[in-house]
Symmetry: C3
């Protein structure tokens, strides 16, 4: 388990580099990521390459016993290239080109840009193919950031038509699959299909879903181009990419096969402000939300069921969230330990030093722009000696997450309060409050190793999924199906039968009807003798073989079944019609874990989380309130002790279910 840092030597006088690199090594860092946005520095004019600076930087890194990770610089092509080939720019839905002057504005489908990408990647990888200090590559940077997965340019229009033809074969099949009789939307041929432009009313949801799939596939192809070229140059190199948090438009799982491991960029105090409904607490503004960070760790770990890297870890105050309080004292250390508990192999702080230039001047580094250490440097230096080698995380529970279901519910959310990620979080948070490690995996994942699986919203469901989940349950798995599961077929049409469509036999129930409810309604469910709140969505269940375990308390849904339970083979399946509040989610999860025999703790309070990896249990405190731990008398603390202060962490050699809070 290692720490590292992202470094941009090109931003500083070369005289300074030796000092910088020496200070990195002194802090115990082991990886240095470089060259990320360096195209114009590497190739200032077409065909004129300058690698001397990067050679020197790599050499310095190696000389100090560290490894270099390089990046393909394709997120920021030079101005001369865009002026030569303006066709490489993406376009908005109304045709407006996305201009040069920030980053990630080039089209994934542009033949020209793919050629240029190949040219620069070949050049760079050839340069370092034999360099012993370079251990691997990050392809590009944050694919799709700033809403750029989906492009509406002419190249994309042509590629979309090809994609459709290769997917459907003939246009009648497309018309049938999408359901184009509605509003006279039948296409005469593939040539007549366009990307979805500005229309007076909403678009056909099947057309949108396939455009989202196509756009995603374009990124997969573009990434594969990088991966192939990198491996062609040196087969020992690893290839990774830095994904983003709670990211809605790119299916991280779909790139997993082309990467050796996945990486992501973790900015805890920003995420609580800009990608989650609801106002953050002051504690969250200081340290973030451990379950928001944790679920992203578990997505990128789950993608390959293998360790991941944090390729960018928030180092202090950053530039892009609305508000930027200083992180809590020690938070930069806390985040690194928390990542390791969730299965990270390496955590690289972004960036080494605050940059004097350009868009990110208000983004801290481990060191300030004058070279002096900032708070992150002290935290990193304190953390490095605390890390030690660990086996991968072994999670007993799978959370089934499906990007296509996310995209499809976005086309028809049916409530302004519908938010796919937040609905997943209802179950995820309940599992994590009880200390359970969770693999967040695509629904097609083999489920053999898991005792239980939670499927909050498998909105798109075909026969294959039904068979897959039925086999899991019949073999003894315990499954929880949540709201809006099975509402649609894989083409974003309603099933001929009521939801959950092909999953109805497994569930032993159908959804008789549904409603979305704004906040002014009282919404509660009776379950296990208590009243529990729910929100936003009420599916009225109609059990066939299932037993009713929960009913709605009021409104038009009063007395309708809300939670039903059935068995199949050696396993069980629980179906939930509503979006549970925290209390109901905990009750449902507790019952599921008990049925599946999964070890867990009593619920930890918000902001405090436990997790076990390789026989050690981490307790991470993301709050400003110190906590006292109760652990077995003979348990050894390898980090901290039984008092976990504000923004502090303890690591104890003990199984998870022996750990709790002393008083809470």
């Amino acid at each position: 388990m290692s720490l590292g840092v992202c470094y941009f030597p090109e931003h500083w006088p070369s005289e300074r580099w030796a000092t910088d690199v020496e200070q990195m090594a002194e802090a115990g860092l082991e990886y240095v990521r470089m060259a990320e946005f360096s195209w114009a520095r590497v190739e200032p004019e077409r065909g004129e390459f300058d690698f001397a600076w990067l050679d020197e930087a790599v050499e310095l890194v190696g000389d100090h016993g560290m490894d270099a990770v390089l990046c393909t610089p394709t997120a920021t092509p030079p101005k001369w290239l865009v002026d030569e080939h303006p066709d490489i720019r993406q376009a908005d839905a109304d045709g407006t080109p996305r201009e040069w002057g920030s980053r990630r504005f080039t089209c994934f489908n542009s033949p020209t840009y793919r050629e240029e990408t190949e040219r620069i990647v070949r050049e760079m990888t050839a340069r370092y193919a034999d360099d012993p200090h370079v251990v691997g590559w990050q392809a590009d940077n944050e694919y799709g950031c700033h809403r750029t997965v989906r492009c509406y340019c002419e190249d994309c229009a042509a590629a979309f038509r090809e994609w459709l033809e290769s997917t459907y074969g003939d246009v009648e099949t497309l018309n049938e699959a999408w359901g184009n009789t509605f509003w006279s939307q039948q296409y005469p041929d593939f040539e007549s299909v366009d990307p979805p432009g500005p229309t007076p009313a909403e678009h056909h949801p099947s057309r949108l879903l396939d455009y989202y799939r196509f756009a995603n596939d374009s990124v997969v192809e573009y990434n594969r181009l990088h991966a192939d070229l990198i491996r062609e140059a040196n087969d020992d190199w690893f290839v990774t990419h830095n994904f983003m948090g709670d990211f809605p438009t790119l299916d991280a799982y779909s790139l997993a096969d082309d990467l050796d491991f996945l990486g992501w960029d973790s900015y805890p105090t920003g995420f609580v402000q800009d990608r989650r409904p609801g106002a953050p607490t002051t504690d969250e503004l200081r340290a973030g939300d451990p379950d928001e960070i944790g679920m992203n760790h578990d997505v990128y770990r789950g993608a390959k069921r293998a360790p991941f890297w944090v390729l960018e870890q928030q180092p202090g105050d950053v530039n892009w969230p609305p508000h930027v309080p200083q992180p809590g004292e020690g938070a930069m250390r806390l985040w690194a330990h928390h990542a390791v508990a969730h299965g990270a192999d390496a955590v690289l702080y972004f960036r080494w030093r605050r940059c004097r230039e350009g868009q990110e001047q208000y983004h801290a580094g481990l060191r300030k722009q004058d070279g002096s250490p900032d708070r992150g440097y002290h935290d990193a230096a304190a953390t490095a000696p605390e890390l030690f080698d660990l086996a991968p995380v072994d999670a007993p529970v799978a959370l089934l997450h499906d990007y296509e279901s996310l995209w499809a519910t976005e086309t028809q959310p049916h409530s302004p309060d519908w938010h796919y990620w937040s609905h997943l979080r209802a179950y995820y948070d309940a599992l994590r409050a009880r200390g359970v490690q969770v693999d967040v995996v695509p629904p097609s994942t083999g489920l053999d190793g898991y005792a239980a699986a939670v499927a909050p919203t498998l909105y798109l469901a075909g026969e294959g999924l039904a068979d897959h989940l039925t086999a899991f349950v019949e073999n003894g798995g315990h499954l929880l199906l949540g709201a809006r599961t099975g509402e649609k077929d894989p083409y974003n049409q309603l099933h001929e039968t009521l939801a959950p469509g092909p999953l109805a036999d497994l569930a032993g129930a159908r959804v008789a009807r549904h409603e979305s409810l704004p906040e002014q309604f009282d919404t509660a469910v009776d379950y296990r003798g208590g009243a529990y709140e729910f929100r936003t969505w009420a599916g009225w269940l109609d059990p066939t073989t299932a037993e009713t375990r929960g009913r709605y308390r009021s409104g038009e849904a009063a007395d309708e079944p809300a939670v039903v339970h059935d068995g199949a083979g050696d396993g069980t399946v629980t179906t939930v019609g509503c979006w549970p509040g925290a209390g109901l989610a905990d009750a449902l999860v507790e019952d599921l874990l008990a049925a599946a025999g999964v070890a867990h703790t009593a619920p930890f309070p918000d902001g405090v989380r436990a997790a076990e990896r390789d026989g050690y249990t981490w307790v991470t405190n993301f709050t400003s309130e110190p906590r006292s731990l109760a652990v077995p008398a003979d348990a050894a603390f390898v980090v901290g002790d039984d008092t976990v202060g504000a923004y502090d962490v303890a690591v104890v050699e003990s199984p998870l279910d022996a750990v709790g809070l002393e008083q809470y």
Copy 2:
């Protein structure tokens, strides 16, 4: 009085049609509306027509003793047509074309699209000209929905210039009428006039008003094209159109001459969420607002002072409002009775069956997508046998509503809280709370049959209007003039004299000045010895011959006249300077009804409404609270009884003013 349904056989296998139609007949439905968006089904390639499916559906309908209403399918031209003629698309003000892929994106002024319209309408009407089961046609669908009345394309620019030339004759007259000396806006010739594009500051209000008029006239012409072609094929057919609720950009009255009766599409639980300021109550989210629905009934009835149809009636949960709670139990029955009480001859539920495809998958039908009955089906079947034949509504009061005044106040609202429809509603709701039937009519309507008239905002006022209203009063009519009446001349200029301009002699008063007041001010008027709240607008009245009956209580307006009263001939006129709250509106209306000798009830509470038609009185309860009725001992209930439950209705053979609530 009949029920019906909207049916799309093309969305379902033909094997199912017989079952569907049989179930319609079983429920007591009498009309089936079809073919609404069927162009691509009817003409899959240019000149290749396929009517077999529709022939069969019409035949089935007729075989089961029902009548078919067909629709011209011009709201959704096929993709092949748009690809052939991209010039038929509308354009936004900045020139962006409105793309194919939803509906209603074609330009009303496109010569190409008019030709294509003529072609398809001739083809379809010829096909069914001799079919005994087809009784009439709906032209197109919801003209102008999704903000499409106003288009800014080149065809519209040319047509606008012609419209102006034919309206004004020479450009000097235009410059004078609009007042183009302001900011050097004189035009050298008609050719130099453009549709209003994107400008740094606001547009000339007279230019905007005429563009809105022109756009409206374009729809009138386009509708007339349909009506003429339909009648040309079969003169016995009726022609109607399905208008929308609280719709701001199309003057429904202006199409009335070309239609046999008007229809509209009523979605009560959606309207309370998306076209009205203020948050809905939970009761409104379950059943809608009876006065919002009622005023629309009365607009479309008032357009011809004749019965209307509800061409689309909400059948359950629908797809487009922000939130979609299930309607209250029985609401689908309640809405049908309420429509009949307001003068509907027929109510057609939209749609028969939830569609599996496309944009409206979350729109319920009377039956679910699997064919099983939904709540609406039970409500419809319960309602059908309760309906019986009735004479048209005979309303004693006219509410004068002027779309051009709506458009003109939108150009210069002078307050973010100004909302033309809501201001109308202040008076309408007060009249309806006292059970009075109200014709909502254009100001030019002959007023002979009315005892009283309320003119909330006749903003644009010329000499003709003054003569018309003066004659009404002198002949014994009782008139109430509301805020902002007569502020402008018909070209959206201020009059040379103070408001109400040419109506000042009739009012016996002028508006000395006005102010718009945000919520933080205390705003009240002294009237009849009490203090009544008002909102948003204060016109300070200056009586000449009128008597002051109300004065402002506070602020800069303190002691200025707010309500004045005058007489002329046998009638009276009351002028109100402010936007009354509910209490003041009730007091003003009570005084008006008393003066005019109009029968009325004590005020019913919000959500409960009475209405008389043909000697019967309906009490409709749009709330979740049951109500006990007080009626004459010998009054016979033909529907329900003296306990009107939640979302329930009673119909009693009794005059209106003998009906009340037992306890309230």
Copy 3:
């Protein structure tokens, strides 16, 4: 000290003009501003000029003993001109042209429009070069209103490239100055630089800042064209321009050299609603905020350290704010006196008469549209005899305001609550609450005459500024430096050293780190033994030679220095790390005034302000609550008396610091 009015004779029949002008003279008005938007009236067709109407109007004005001020009519070119030369239109960043139909849509850099401007200005100035009644000119109208300083058209692109080349000489210098290594933003040559268009992520802040500077310089050049032509025609004429309130995009100081005095347009009850964070009070909705108006007076006075004119003074209710309550009784008199107290030489009401036509129908005049007097007329007539001649204001304190710092902080505000003007106001309001006259001046101003200077945010700081301020302090000046001062160099890069960069020696401190804090945090500073609130920004100070006088109380910043104090030569410098609340600002200002020996009062309450000019002290009451004054027994009131009613004013012959409120 004089009153005047803005008059548009072209809006009225010529028969009326004599009456209008006579009534102006009767009210005691001395200036009549005309011809402001008259181009199409003056030149209805190319080359066909009609000046007869304006000749007559000027003559009438002169005959009644008043002076005419004329305007170049270039804010509203005629339609025929735009149709001839559509290239004169500005463009939005996405290329959409700004269309004719309102005003100020023409490009300042268009060679065509500059030619046309020269043509019309030559024609008009030649016409009146020898007219004894015309005393001066206003160039154009409100440069940049409706967000039009910044244009993105092709002419601007070309001009920007030239501007850059002339600023930087070679592109390497540009790349270095901006810091273009970041994200590969190096330019190969000047030709490759574009105006900042629509990009997925944010723009380079240095590129933005220079585009804002360039756009500002374009207005300076365009104004100079007017000024030169006017003076060429008649060197005795004055040249001025009517600037706007709290205006963010145009540096008023940069036009000062080309104007004889600055004018501005004051609309107090609108400003409190549309250009200031926070909801206005009811008093502010009636009379405005004296410090918002006052700071603008002091900016336009400060630009030349000389008297200014109010070229447009709100006359009553106006058309453009969201809400339009009637101004408080007497407010139009109050505003005129308040302007005089702040150094105005003349106050011209806008407009004479409410216009029947076009966009401003809801803008009152001194008289109504029917010619009768409105409230403003009575106020103006009451004010005129109360005015008398006065020496210019002699302000003891300078507030250093830098438009480039405003622009630069806008590129990286780092908090949604950052608002440059509001931060200035924190200090300005505190100074004005104690009656102190304040020159709001650019930082380069010679500071010799000032006892103290307050620099709230000199964000961009170079060595020259450091030398300038150090000299001021060493010569005995007392300086206060506020939050975010010296964060950047003049090219919008961070300094190599920590803030305040080159000002650190003077401050005796550096900013160790900073944070922006949303409202949910408790934020307070200990100062002078008390706890004082601050908001939004916390710079953690690190004193070198300075003494710590205030520390943060809580959060991560607890105990870090927030206010430090140092001396240099005969002066002192106080550095403040946070945005002070009203209490802290008063404490800081009180200490500064004491150190500098500046006369001041006890704090006046919000809405009540005192100011001294030429030995007289004005007390202006912008509230609805009457106030009793305490003045020296022998002090003579020249306006009012010791009871200042609602929206009233008193002027007493007394020094400022002898005046206070009797009870408060």
